[in-house]
Symmetry: C2
């Protein structure tokens, strides 16, 4: 089969956004232009770079390419429009306008995809153009392409990701150096790791946007950020870190997307992971995504999840794919929501839990606590009793239980006179040894 239109002799690329990622994209496209020509088949020409503030110096971007008329750039009929400005608006309108003008779109915009990916897919379908977004999740780590293409012949059952480098850096420092939350927050801030609104990182919202994108691709079901249960790391204490260590676990902020018999559950929360699980060794600002699929089994992808250069690498890989499609007359994968599974709330999630209790050192303590678990249908896997006298602590790890059963258990425990305080409650993920 051959394309009806004549094969273009060069391709035009227009860029929306001239920040860190945009500048790196320009640099690489310019520095390695003969490589790109060879890899695509024809020369790639950068036609324009739209920025908000023309007066700001943009070292590395030729001034002749700069303009503040983003709509004109978006609708210039470029073969490919690259959107690296971020945010919902005007990014959405510009992408839709670019597609209407016949341009394929490469975007790194996780917030927009997680909120309204459906509009972008719909426009791509309507206008017969490509929508690529590898850079939106886990930076340079190829994850979107494997989910959309490599695993297109498999059934994914669960995805667990460390997809926010800032919080992983903070948790690593707490784990390895005994720093407390306030200290590592300040450190991350000083290093420039935190978003201008830090709650996007520490509140888990950045991870939640990525979780929604991952879940939609993994389960062929529309998922938006509103479907994602989101709990950040602000409540993680040194006590939790220490308890995790004592049990052979490490605390990670996980983005989890899983398929159960009843539907799809997508959640972001801190979790205890066994030290011998592949995700446990993902340190500092690295990202990793662990996938379980029916035929492929367990897989993990690991690498740099953020930063100008890694993000630009992902953008340029997409750009080459979109360019090759232009030349061959083909089209990349579109939206796949055919399974249309129910998206369930966190109440339906079944996970294991860790519960850390400050207890009175008197006879019958364990019996009363065990009853509280049993009466609420939560089965205990391991109990560990530390110290004695005024220092008595009891750590319980449960078998799988529902969110609701666990909450009821915690309520019941709080009312026991043998329990002085509930010191910590956290989900446990990853089978030991897996």
């Amino acid at each position: 089969m051959s394309a009806a239109s004549p094969t273009p002799t060069s391709l035009r690329v227009a860029l929306l956004g001239g920040g860190t990622v945009g500048t790196e994209v320009v640099r690489l496209l310019t520095a390695d232009s003969s490589d790109f020509s060879a890899r695509v088949g024809v020369p790639i020409q950068l036609s324009a770079v739209a920025v908000r503030d023309l007066s700001k110096p943009r070292p590395g971007i030729p001034s002749s390419l700069l303009t503040d008329d983003a709509l004109a750039v978006a609708t210039s009929g470029a073969d490919i429009v690259v959107e690296v400005m971020g945010g919902i608006e005007p990014a959405r309108s510009l992408i839709l306008a670019a597609m209407a003008a016949g341009s394929s779109v490469v975007t790194a915009n996780k917030a927009l995809l997680a909120e309204d990916g459906a509009s972008l897919y719909e426009a791509a379908r309507k206008f017969g153009v490509d929508l690529y977004f590898e850079a939106a999740v886990a930076g340079a780590i190829p994850l979107i392409r494997p989910l959309r293409e490599s695993l297109a012949g498999d059934q994914v059952s669960k995805v667990m990701g460390i997809v926010n480098g800032t919080t992983n850096f903070m948790l690593t420092r707490m784990d390895e150096d005994g720093a407390d939350y306030a200290e590592v927050f300040d450190e991350a801030n000083a290093l420039g790791y935190l978003e201008s609104d830090p709650t996007l990182d520490v509140g888990g919202h950045d991870a939640a946007a990525k979780a929604a994108i991952i879940a939609e691709l993994a389960f062929h079901t529309r998922v938006t950020i509103d479907d994602v249960y989101c709990e950040g790391i602000t409540q993680v204490t040194s006590t939790d870190i220490k308890a995790a260590q004592d049990m052979g676990f490490v605390i990670k902020l996980l983005a989890v997307a899983e398929r159960t018999d009843a539907g799809v559950i997508v959640r972001v929360h801190p979790a205890m992971v066994p030290r011998d699980h592949p995700l446990a060794s993902v340190r500092l600002s690295f990202n990793a995504v662990f996938i379980e699929a029916e035929s492929a089994g367990q897989m993990m992808f690991y690498g740099r999840g953020a930063g100008g250069a890694p993000t630009a690498s992902a953008v340029l890989g997409d750009l080459v794919a979109a360019a090759r499609n232009r030349l061959s007359g083909g089209q990349g994968p579109g939206e796949s929501t055919y399974l249309d599974l129910p998206v369930l709330g966190i109440g339906e999630a079944q996970t294991r839990y860790y519960v850390n209790l400050d207890v009175a050192d008197k006879p019958g303590v364990l019996a009363s606590i065990a009853s509280a678990f049993a009466e609420n249908g939560v089965s205990i896997q391991v109990v560990r009793q530390d110290g004695h006298g005024d220092e008595a602590g009891l750590i319980v790890r449960t078998h799988k239980a529902s969110d609701q059963s666990l909450r009821q258990t915690i309520d019941a425990l709080s009312k026991l006179d043998t329990v002085r305080r509930v010191l910590g409650v956290m989900r446990v993920e990853g089978e030991p040894g897996a």
Copy 2:
């Protein structure tokens, strides 16, 4: 752009090979046929399965599909021909015949790709069909697609892979359980892990074929298995394992493809890897590939590298990609050898080394040994002296040195009367902490 031909309303797939992988492909295509239809856009019909021996029972493959006329299946004009029979011939002739008949090809044939990938690419180009081969390297782990597509906008500098599960299983058992080579060979044999010709595994030839395929994609330069230096694990001793442990290293059979200023070097050999390197934690029969790229930085892909189900998962992902191209009129990536870098011999490789010496316990030993290294231009990084009297051992870890310099050093050491025996020599890979 739209395809000139009318969009097909269904796609025909023909299979060459009815072994473990072929049977699993049939099972999945049949069991999940509505999923495939939804993901591709039209129904996929399995038209025939060619096998060598029709009299052999093939549970799971409908007998109406079976035939021993492989050429008829290859040239039946199916939209996609899947080749999972393996070996050079008749696989090559059948694939070329299928392409000439207008079929896209999905193959898991690492031996053929490593020996004569060029012929397959050439035919794919000539007849305007796709050639996909994700299953040929690292089974279910998406690696080929990331190299061909995701990293198409980046410059890969080095790839290091654990790509043979059998030898990784053997080395893991030697490391963790103190078993010696003969024991773990027997164990791997009893578990059915070894190829019918075990030298393919333990001699490193299976890994070498995969290394050639990886290197060609990573460096846009034609590489065949004849270009790959290949050393297996048969010489790895318990002494090496123990020495590695004492230094905080673990021994892995690595497939290394690297780009130097002078060209490309591709090699397979056992190497000591620091325990905190991501590859060190890849245990038992798991595979992993570690990639360093200019913009993306360090990445690792981890998962099941072999087995019927994981291999079938990779085949089916390719099948969906080829099918989508059929429908959209597009074409997947072709051969990319535009860089055409010189492919260098092992003599040009610069690596660090471990050298384990049984030495006489007399004054001046270290001085004479240090001189032998220095005179041959090999710089010492660490020396570690163990025991004394008749048990004296000396372990040296070098800075980067050429293969030739190291060989000359070992020659010189062997001639020293202070050196009783060279107990072990092995390359060291992976920067500590990386």
